[in-house]
Symmetry: C2
Subunit: 146 residues, 2 copies
């Protein structure tokens, strides 16, 4: 069992606390626009992943870190809210390509803007905690000080 010294343990706890606060903000901020944090992230993935903003369910599952069937259900709910639409992929009829609706784009813009503001507060806190943890830069392998 690898040992984690008290200083790093505290830094990790602090990082995790900031994470929880951020995630809670994300939930609240999304719900203020009538959607869930998962739906916000879904739209974020659709917008960011592909240049044409057409993303398959499989890609969504991968990027959302979900099982395929959970991605299907997530898209179902978002579609029901009019945030996204399914289009048939003409090159591969098995595929559904998910795109944002006009309404989805509008809601996404609002929620993303709110997140950016919050990250101006939370970002530095997280970075600070990760620095204290000693994991803020790559190539830290084997730098274990006790």
């Amino acid at each position: 069992m690898g040992q984690v010294d008290a200083r790093r343990f505290a830094a990790m706890a602090e990082f995790r606390y900031e994470l929880r606060r951020f995630l809670h903000f994300s939930e609240t901020s999304a719900e203020a626009q009538g959607i869930s944090a998962q739906q916000y992230q879904l739209m974020q993935v659709v917008q960011a992943t592909s240049a044409e903003a057409r993303v398959s369910i499989s890609t969504i599952a991968e990027r959302m870190v979900l099982r395929h069937n959970s991605a299907v259900e997530l898209v179902d709910r978002a579609e029901r809210l009019g945030l996204v639409e399914r289009l048939a992929d003409e090159d591969d009829l098995r595929r559904s390509l998910v795109v944002l609706t006009e309404h989805g784009r509008k809601v996404l813009a609002h929620v993303a803007a709110a997140h950016l503001v919050e990250l101006e507060r939370a970002g530095p806190m997280m970075v600070q905690a990760l620095e204290r943890l000693g994991v803020s830069e790559a190539s830290k392998r084997g730098t274990e000080a006790k």
Copy 2:
């Protein structure tokens, strides 16, 4: 609508993706030790919050960013697994003070160690994304731990 430019939008999406991967790791890594990620974080809070490692339900709720009744239920489940114990606060009989059991400490050490390893990979990725977002300003050298 376009309050968030494309570069920052992409950085935010990337940060969020790393977050999801980390959270998924956390879940998996905790379950490998027979507990949930929430139970891991509960123990982390108990261990890190107070010097004597005795924490009230209210404090747990605050640090876990949960409603108090959810904190009660979280402690219930953790207690049932033998990870934590409730002690009566002699100064205020309304309070239950939560402490780790020997078994809880052992499991916590394992899971925390695994998280530290994962953060050596994920930490730099998150910091990088936050830097690209322009919200990492606390990362000035000098606040670096000794």
